[in-house]
């Protein structure tokens, strides 16, 4: 039982630290400005070209085939350097790795991982949120293509995306979980309309909705088999619950480090309540780093991820929202019209208990799948 770096891990950390000293783009706080999202694709490619992205993914698709514990070191050093977090797309990679055939994996994974292609995830709809399987977007066969009609919403990164990872109904005549399939759909074609959505913290470049009206996708762009959409979607959302697939630990630590520096520089400005909120954020962020170390160490022994992802999602949510409260406590709500980054950080934190499955859904899953309680 050892939290310390092995010699190989320590060498990796040293090389990473040296690289970050020269290549940190020093963007502002994550998810608080549109400028941040505009600069993020370049950061993705830079991280990839430096050899630091996709550490645990297969080498044949541009990853590095390393044990996933290296992601803990990566996130730790990104936070220490005040660098932006790594792009959050591990769950899409996992979905394609687990369900795509060799052709699909070879065609889509390299550019997804390198950042040359940008992807968004078309799952939720206006009438299909927590009850995702009731979605209505249709994909109807027409010769060698499918024709897509429907409305997707809460589609992160849709404004920049080249591709949509689309969950659509291919068979309306079977029970709702059985008639779904997944496609890789080009976004730059007639019949695809992307509309940005403004989040409660004012950013417009992260969130969107997409209208499909007669867009076409070649049948060979189906990921998995016809009707495999639901299990594939569940693979995706289960990985979307995992802090290490998202790399959020570094985002939280970066914010906490920044708040800590400000309070330490002018301690007399902050009262006991503000310090207490900061201390809780420090405790929570530290916990998450240790928790991820524990989970990823278990994988060294071949333990695959399972329903405990719902526990991790709730832990991650509690961390993000404690960090949000600390930002609000330390920075205030900018009533005087001054820089409102802390307010934006706080407001953004409210999304974490909704995105990737609400906290209520996670609690249902824990109750049923882990505690063995009967569904009501």
């Amino acid at each position: 039982m050892d939290f310390a770096d092995s010699p190989e891990e320590a060498a990796f950390r040293e090389r990473l630290r040296a690289w970050l000293a020269d290549n940190n783009p020093k963007l502002g706080a994550s998810s608080t400005t549109d400028e941040y999202w505009e600069a993020q694709p370049e950061w993705h490619r830079s991280l990839y070209q430096g050899g630091w992205f996709g550490l645990s993914w297969p080498e044949e698709y541009g990853g590095h085939g390393m044990p996933s514990v290296y992601d803990v070191i990566l996130d730790d050093e990104l936070a220490n350097a005040g660098a932006p977090p790594r792009p959050s797309l591990g769950y899409l990679v996992q979905g394609i790795l687990h369900h795509g055939n060799d052709d699909v994996k070879a065609r889509f994974l390299p550019a997804l991982i390198s950042g040359d292609d940008r992807w968004c995830q078309g799952f939720s709809e206006p009438d299909a949120g927590s009850d995702l399987a009731s979605l209505r977007t249709r994909a109807e066969r027409d010769d060698d293509d499918y024709v897509i009609t429907g409305h997707k919403v809460w589609t992160s990164y849709s404004d920049l995306a080249d591709w949509c990872f689309l969950l659509a109904r291919t068979d309306p005549d079977v029970p709702k979980h059985k008639g779904l399939s997944v496609f890789a759909v080009r976004m730059d074609q007639p019949g695809v309309e992307q509309r940005p959505l403004k989040m409660i913290n004012g950013i417009t470049r992260e969130f969107g909705e997409v209208i499909f009206d007669g867009a076409r996708v070649p049948a060979e762009n189906m990921i998995g088999a016809p009707g495999e959409g639901w299990p594939l979607a569940m693979t995706i959302v289960s990985h979307e619950r995992e802090p290490h697939e998202l790399g959020f630990a570094s985002r939280y630590r970066k914010t906490v480090n920044e708040l800590q520096r400000r309070v330490a520089a002018e301690p007399e400005r902050y009262d006991a309540e503000q310090r207490r909120a900061l201390a809780w954020a420090m405790v929570e962020a530290d916990m998450l780093q240790r928790h991820v170390s524990r989970r990823l160490s278990d994988r060294l022994g071949g333990i695959e991820h399972g329903p405990e992802g719902s526990i991790d999602k709730l832990l991650m949510t509690w961390v993000e929202q404690a960090v949000g409260h600390a930002a609000l406590a330390v920075g205030g709500a900018a009533h005087d019209g001054s820089d409102d980054t802390d307010l934006r950080t706080y407001l953004y934190s409210r999304a974490q208990s909704v995105m990737g499955g609400t906290s209520q859904i996670q609690r249902n899953l824990i109750a049923w799948r882990i505690l063995g309680l009967p569904a009501s």
């Binding site: 719902s310 249902n364 309680l373």
Partner: protein
């Protein structure tokens, strides 16, 4: 980095779990079974767990704090009513002071609120006061802080029904033969150990309370269905598991840090875990009382035994407030 337990650590954890399952109180009525408690005590003596922090010839502890934490968690999970915390902390103090080992019933004395080690001349209570024994405390000696010992008259009582406490007369403290003064680093190490081990006990207590409550929710029926089928109850129970897992990850790191990191960093890691576990244990044990309903508010239900145990473990060297202050101080942000 590989934070999986070694095979030896797994065996130690399982041995502790089995001893507690076989000889722990099990029920509130079981707490009054003196024969059983004596057998549990004998099993703990036999196991050598109380000597895990005694020193070898070079002054290094026999086992790391991780081993101590693993045992502590299992004892907490089964509400074990046998001395462990006090003797382990006493052995560690003797080791740090280079003093010879005592007989194994020695414990430690803390201030009456349990928030700090007791000092000679001040008010003090001994923890793990299961019978006549001695308790270590600190004294001002020639070369700095030294160890002293006082007699513990007999079995105590207190909030925790599984680990009695009792006042001790520190005016009669005697110096510990062969003990050298404790350096600041020594006291920091001991503080880190104490916080990490009590955090582990809290993880165990909340895991035990959560297990008890989930089992009850599966059996207790209302409206013709188990109460565990109702979403409002399910969400309370789901949160207990989230608290346990977060606290366990933090506590595991704290236990490792006691012997692996510089003393000040070890204290910060332990304070982090202790603050987290203190909040989590209270939430989980209160949920245990709530989900048990009317039964949960009666003496016969084990829920309050877990809650009371958590209150003691929380207060040893401080719960949330003092530990958040330690975390801030370590980051260069002074107290209020």
């Amino acid at each position: 980095m590989d934070v999986r337990l070694s095979p030896e650590q797994v065996a130690l954890r399982d041995a502790a779990a089995q001893a507690v399952a076989r000889l722990g109180p099990g029920t509130v009525a079981g707490l009054d079974d003196a024969d059983r408690a004596a057998r549990l005590d004998a099993a703990v003596v036999e196991s050598g767990w109380r000597e895990l922090r005694a020193g070898d010839d070079g002054g290094a502890p026999w086992a790391s704090a991780v081993e101590v934490a693993l045992v502590s968690e299992q004892l907490g999970r089964g509400c074990a009513d046998a001395a462990f915390l006090g003797p382990v902390l006493a052995a560690d103090l003797r080791r740090l002071a280079g003093a010879p080992e005592s007989d194994e019933s020695e414990t430690v004395a803390l201030t009456p609120d349990l928030g700090a080690p007791a000092r000679a001349g001040g008010a003090a209570v001994a923890v793990d006061a299961f019978g006549p024994s001695t308790a270590l405390l600190l004294a001002d000696g020639d070369g700095g802080t030294t160890l002293a010992t006082v007699d513990v008259a007999g079995r105590g009582a207190g909030a925790d029904l599984t680990r009695p406490t009792t006042s001790v007369a520190t005016a009669e403290a005697r110096p510990v033969e062969g003990a050298r003064p404790l350096a600041e680093d020594d006291l920091d190490r001991w503080t880190a150990l104490t916080l990490a081990v009590t955090a582990a006990d809290l993880v165990g207590a909340m895991a035990g309370a959560a297990r008890l409550t989930v089992e009850y929710a599966k059996e207790r029926a209302q409206y013709g269905k188990p109460i565990g089928s109702f979403q409002a109850v399910q969400h309370l129970l789901a949160d207990t598991l989230v608290h346990v897992e977060g606290a366990r990850s933090s506590a595991l790191h704290a236990a490792w840090a006691v012997d692996a990191l510089p003393a000040a960093d070890a204290v910060a890691a332990a304070a982090t875990a202790k603050a987290y576990a203190s909040r989590a244990a209270l939430a989980v044990c209160e949920t245990a009382v709530q989900v048990h309903g009317g039964i949960g508010n009666t003496w016969e239900c084990m829920a309050h035994v877990f809650l009371r145990r958590s209150l003691l473990s929380t207060d040893v060297l401080g719960g949330i407030g003092p530990n958040l202050d330690r975390v801030l101080r370590h980051a260069g942000i002074g107290g209020r």
